[in-house]
């Protein structure tokens, strides 16, 4: 048994150095040169170069003039991606399909949507009233975006067709027409809306 001690220790140290230090360091080095933007969190910037958020991590919107994202189960506020050591991070609700809590949350969300736009009476797209797995979902379905067009246009005093065109512009199909699901990036859409409103205000 003791004859295997030296190989165990030496092999462990060498493999640790290769797979735990050299490998991540080399990948980081190559990534920093070839894909620096992706490797550092896909951060979007405004025209002045200031960061406005990550393209991949969703943000919470509750004002009528913005498109609302998926509900999020994170705390203390929705879309908390990190809240300090020992604090909170992304999370799902983990409520089961028969849990009364789930049904109460969905009911509450439907009520809020109906109150914000009494003219929209159709069935609500499911992704708009169910919380995502990560609590940080950056996307909603195109159906969920179109569902909110009327409300957003009214709140901003923009023609419905303008807002609808903008949503269509940001609709992303399945990857290669096959993979995943169709979606709209909420932060990009809302940032574009703000720019549109600002351009209109400066013209008036």
């Amino acid at each position: 048994m003791w004859s295997q001690c030296r190989p165990a220790i030496v092999v462990f140290v060498i493999l640790s150095a290769i797979t735990g230090l050299a490998y991540p360091l080399v990948v980081t080095g190559v990534a920093a040169v070839v894909f620096p933007w992706q490797a550092n969190g896909s951060v979007l910037t405004d025209s002045a170069g200031n960061p406005v958020g990550s393209r991949l991590i969703g943000q919470y919107f509750s004002a009528s003039k913005y498109f609302w994202p998926r509900p999020s189960a994170t705390s203390p506020v929705p879309y908390t991606s990190y809240n300090g050591p020992l604090g909170d991070s992304g999370s799902g609700s983990n409520t089961g399909p028969t849990n009364p809590k789930l049904l109460a949350s969905v009911q509450r969300r439907i009520k809020r949507l109906r109150a914000a736009d009494p003219t929209e009476k159709g069935p609500v797209p499911v992704d708009l009233v169910t919380s995502s797995a990560s609590g940080l979902d950056p996307d909603i379905s195109p159906a969920a975006a179109f569902y909110q067009v009327q409300r957003v246009a009214e709140a901003r005093g923009l023609p419905v067709s303008t807002v609808k065109n903008l949503v269509e512009h940001f609709c992303q199909g399945r990857d290669f027409g096959i993979l995943g699901a169709p979606r709209v990036n909420v932060l990009e859409l809302n940032s574009a809306l703000d720019r549109l409103s600002a351009a209109k205000a400066s013209k008036d």
Binding site: V27, V43, S62, T80, S89, D127, T130, D175, P182
Partner: protein, 592 residues
Amino acid sequence: MTPNTWIQMGVFLLVLCALVKPLGAFMARVYEGQPCGLDKPLGWLERLTYRAAGIKPDQPMTWKTYAVALLLFNLLGGVAVYALQRLQGFLPLNPEHLSAVSPDLAWNTAVSFISNTNWQSYNGETTMSYLTQMLALTVQNFVSAATGMAVLVALIRGIRSKQTDNIGNFWVDLVRSTLYILLPLSFVLALLLVSQGVVQTFSPYKKVPLLQPVSYVQSSTNAAGKTNNKTVWVKHQVLPLGPAASQIAIKQLGTNGGGFFGVNSAHPFENPNPLSNFMEVLAILLIPAALCYTFGRMVGDTRQGWAIFAAMMIIFVPLMVGCVWAEHSGNPKLTALGVNQSPSGLMSGGNMEGKETRFGVTDSAIWAATTTAASNGSVNSMHDSYTPLGGLVPMWLMELGEVIFGGVGSGLYGMLMFVIVAVFIAGLMVGRTPEYLGKKIEAFEMKMATICVLVPPALVLVTAAIACVAVMGTSALANPGAHGFSEILYWASSVGNNNGSAFAGLGTNTPFYNIAGGTLMWVSRYFLIVPTLALAGSLARKKQIPVSSGTLPTHDALFTAWLVATVVLIGALTFLPALALGPIVESLHLWH
């Protein structure tokens, strides 16, 4: 289900099948010591390791020496992972100043990662420093996978060698698996993932402004017992970063599954889009599937490998389709509230609670079946929120013993135990001495195979039962009724079969769950490895009997069907009663 659903499942299975032969043949060359194309760039590292460690690569070991070497190496790994977590506060590469991990959690994580389970009682971004993620967790992702592959190769050598005491050299199998198979594949996959948006950096977490600030009410109670409500405004969001891509690549390829971030592969920084999702879900099954071909090649009859591959596929495909179908059916209780769950060109539809928009129901359910067929356990959606039948599929796939592809190496050696049981029963039925690939299956082999087949279910059911009656067990539940029982059963099935996925509502970061879970992971890994190696040693000593008219063929459709029946029958008999109390009852509640 829409046509796109079928196309997505078809593309996934086709690409997987197309890769089995090339990768399987490559791995056979690596284990046979033949030139594999990477000897020039990496061979010097291999030779350097042997020289520094005093290893004679051509000196084979008996099964006992092999087992001792393996256990020593794994023990050392466990100590290192534990120590790195406990000491991370004093070590470099800790930009967020995360402090030491608690002892019970550190122990659970150490066992979890050396046993290739990768159960996570912790949130990576709030608990583990960059150094711990790399030097503790990434390292074990590699070597726990390589350990499983080594045991498989030792068993294959036992099957094909004649009257010898030796089953190969553990150090050579370990080093070659790591250097020539896992490392190059991980390197390529890691860079592909970064190109899609998976983070890979040593920078500290980044603060970005919110377009719309959010407020919440914080309640605090002062010394006099008076409650104070204060409105807090949140104007920024902190983006957790780190060397994630390098770890995620091996976490999928090595069927490990422990996430860099708490929500695992649902986190947009781990799995940013459908293309990254496709690469990752393919990586989960890639090596376990290809090893079937490696097995056939190494025993000198590729039909033997294809027969096992076919048996795995025959169980996997219907279960995957069933899971996708169940999730597409949605939640009838939501339809009643006025929610639209019908899939269309404008939305995924279906049961979207706990799922990400970019993956929709289809990619989430394909992943759920894949990650539990393999003993991977990473998740891109929250299984706890699945429909009852959609959640039954991943649970049962684990309970089958992680042999439907299973872990790298461990899945196939687990399946070979079922093969031995199947051969034995078939032999009894026709009244012939059971044999497999020219080796007589006798009392000792059957004892070892039975231990491997029956120990995990016994562990799972007994532990689940204890957790159900103990307050320490039930106080962690997040859901009432039958679903609560499902949470506990899923937990026990996951740790008891080294999977690592969860019905994550169950709050398992408590001393009870950390210690019970750690023990289960440890027993189910090493109490299966040692009998497997003993079996390899016993087979190696036997004579090779030539094929005769009395030999039961083990490469044809009849045997494949027989193997499928054996696996399904044992899995169904042991777990149907428990499943009836959990997901099946819940499904009746949901639909009636």
